[in-house]
């Protein structure tokens, strides 16, 4: 496991690919694990929007989060922690912080530099329990946030973070799933129409530990959530799901990085999105890296987008790097398309009207992810939210 401590200032990169542009005709290749990392905002150059990392993002809209000093004070949350899970605000020097990763871009580093306290969620109970945390009152102040979720060895829990209301937030979320633990983490972005939210999730899954990580992005002007998940212990299992529904004028982005670091790890990535209305925009980047020590890896990633109207744009970019020959299987799939006429025909041939058939197909398409969430109450709420997104817009 690569552990970077906050003391390691400056840009650090552990590279086996690396850049060497001086060689004639050489195309620079950077392996996914070789990106520069730093906890310091100033270590990252100002963003001009042409960087690979940012070129698909509306950087003009996120300027304050990239460049300005951010308010790093705790904000109001609503939660009730059950037995076996604690929720508390902790200081920057808490031992749980900086145990899962380090920023790889400027907005993330800006959040790290500016946060004052972190929201620490720690699961210790071996009987499964669920904690729901909602935040609704972040307002329009430019903020830095930090969440650190720690699943202690052999613990079992579900953590649901639901965000609503307005926000101008850059945050880092650290998740450490320790040996033998099972964690189900769901992050729901159902922000108000004007919200801007950038998040980096740094995740370590330890030996024989199991993680289910789900991102649901429905509301917000710009929502960019980038999970980097390292299957760092032998036998670690990571299922990464995502569901997004972009309406007119919304930008929903997710850059997923799944790193098979240890041997015998299993990874599944499945993101599904729907787009409707002029200017609805989604970005999905899925980097899977199977490292040199990841013998026996079993990996599959997919992204599917359903385009409901004209005037939308979905980018879908899967990437698979394999550094060992000894794997069980690895594959990826990406597809962006309109309704499947055969599905609509089948439903209509049973008497179902065209509009109802479309509704069923979209809901069914997204339900595949909802069905994975593993929390009945949230699943019901997401079904309602998806129905609301569709209301009156499919004709």
């Amino acid at each position: 496991m690569t552990v970077v401590t906050p003391e390691q200032h400056g840009l650090t990169a552990h590279s086996d690919g690396g850049w060497d542009a001086s060689e004639k005709g050489f195309v620079p290749v950077q392996t996914r694990s070789a990106r520069p990392q730093s906890f310091e905002h100033t270590d990252f150059a100002p963003v001009n929007g042409l960087e690979a990392e940012w070129k698909l993002t509306p950087v003009k809209l996120i300027k304050p989060l990239l460049d300005d000093a951010l308010d790093g004070a705790p904000y109001a949350i609503d939660t009730e922690a059950p037995e076996g899970i604690s929720v508390e605000w902790v200081a920057r020097d808490d031992s749980r912080i900086a145990s899962a990763g380090a920023p790889e871009e400027r907005a993330s580093a800006n959040a790290w530099t500016n946060f004052e306290q972190a929201l620490a969620i720690t699961i210790t109970g071996e009987e499964h329990s669920t904690v729901r945390i909602s935040r609704a009152e972040l307002g329009s102040t430019a903020r830095a946030g930090h969440i650190v979720i720690t699943a202690r060895p052999h613990s079992n829990g579900t953590v649901i973070v639901e965000s609503t209301g307005s926000a101008l937030l850059s945050e880092n979320v650290e998740v450490v799933v320790e040996e033998g633990a099972t964690l189900n983490f769901v992050s729901v972005q159902d922000w108000a129409d004007d919200a801007i939210h950038l998040a980096s999730h740094f995740v370590q899954v330890g030996r024989s530990a199991t993680l289910k990580h789900t991102i649901v992005s429905l509301g917000g002007k710009v929502v960019r959530v980038n999970p980097s998940v390292h299957l760092s212990g032998e036998g670690a299992d990571g299922e990464l799901y995502g569901l997004y529904f972009a309406d007119a004028g919304q930008h929903l982005e997710q850059r997923v990085y799944l790193h098979h670091e240890a041997a015998q790890t299993r990874g599944r990535v499945s993101y599904k999105g729907a787009l409707q209305g002029t200017g609805a925009r989604t970005v999905w980047v899925g980097d899977v890296l199977i490292g040199p020590h990841a013998a026996g890896t079993d990996s599959y990633e997919q992204n599917r987008n359903l385009v409901l109207t004209e005037g939308t744009r979905a980018d879908s970019i899967p990437n698979l790097e394999i550094e060992t020959g000894d794997i069980q299987g690895a594959g990826h799939a990406s597809a962006t398309g309109r309704f499947d006429d055969e599905q609509l025909f089948y439903l209509q041939a049973r008497g179902i009207s065209e509009s109802e058939a479309r509704r069923l197909v979209v809901i069914g398409f997204l339900s595949e992810i909802v069905q994975k969430v593993g929390d009945e109450q949230l699943e019901a709420r997401l079904h309602t939210a998806i129905e609301a997104e569709l209301e009156g817009t499919i004709s």
Partner: protein, 254 residues
Amino acid sequence: MSVLSVKDLHVSVETEQGTKQILKGVNLEIKQGETHAIMGPNGSGKSTLAYTIAGHPKYHVESGSITLDGVEVLDMSIDERARAGLFLAMQYPVEIPGVKVADFLRTAKTALAGEAPALRPWIKEVNGAMKALRMDKAFSDRNVNEGFSGGEKKRNEILQLELLKPGFAILDETDSGLDVDALKIVSEGVNRAQEATGLGLLLITHYTRILRYIKPDFVHVFVDGRVAEQGGPELADRLENEGYDRFLTDTSVA
């Protein structure tokens, strides 16, 4: 008495090589309660006929008509045809991810009846029909056709036939890919539906074996986009012995 009538039907599809004529003047008349078998070699246009009756947008009707009790079916949308009482059991039923069988059946029943069925009796009816088709209860919780074996997909089609109670049903190679046991179960389901509702049946098949379990009143031999010969059940026996060669030679001479 209800009648489904196909008159001088010409149908084409757009292919990469241009417009392709598939049906070249089909005539058929099926009365309520009758069973018509359509037999013919692969590629003769049997599925095209089935899809055209059901209203699949891929198939263009160049001329001719399809009427149900005198009303032009070609003027109806796909779902209107279903609501008028037409049903197509598909040769290759499609998967609908994320839509559970139970929800789908109830939505279809509601659409056809114009109101939601009362919950208790409906669930009882669904369970009874599934049991009769030897389908595990767990099917209602699975997504429509997703991960179903070939035989399970066909059972699921006949389940819908029994529950949705159409006036006329077209079964497109429902028998293909079924082993003998499954073929019997599925055939019994079709016969039950016909006894219960006086269904008119258009049974499309490549082989004669399903006709051992579902007795046709009429047999139509379909070759190169039209009915080349018709007769009673004895015609099926002849095809069993002689195959389609006779007809293929005929058309190549003609």
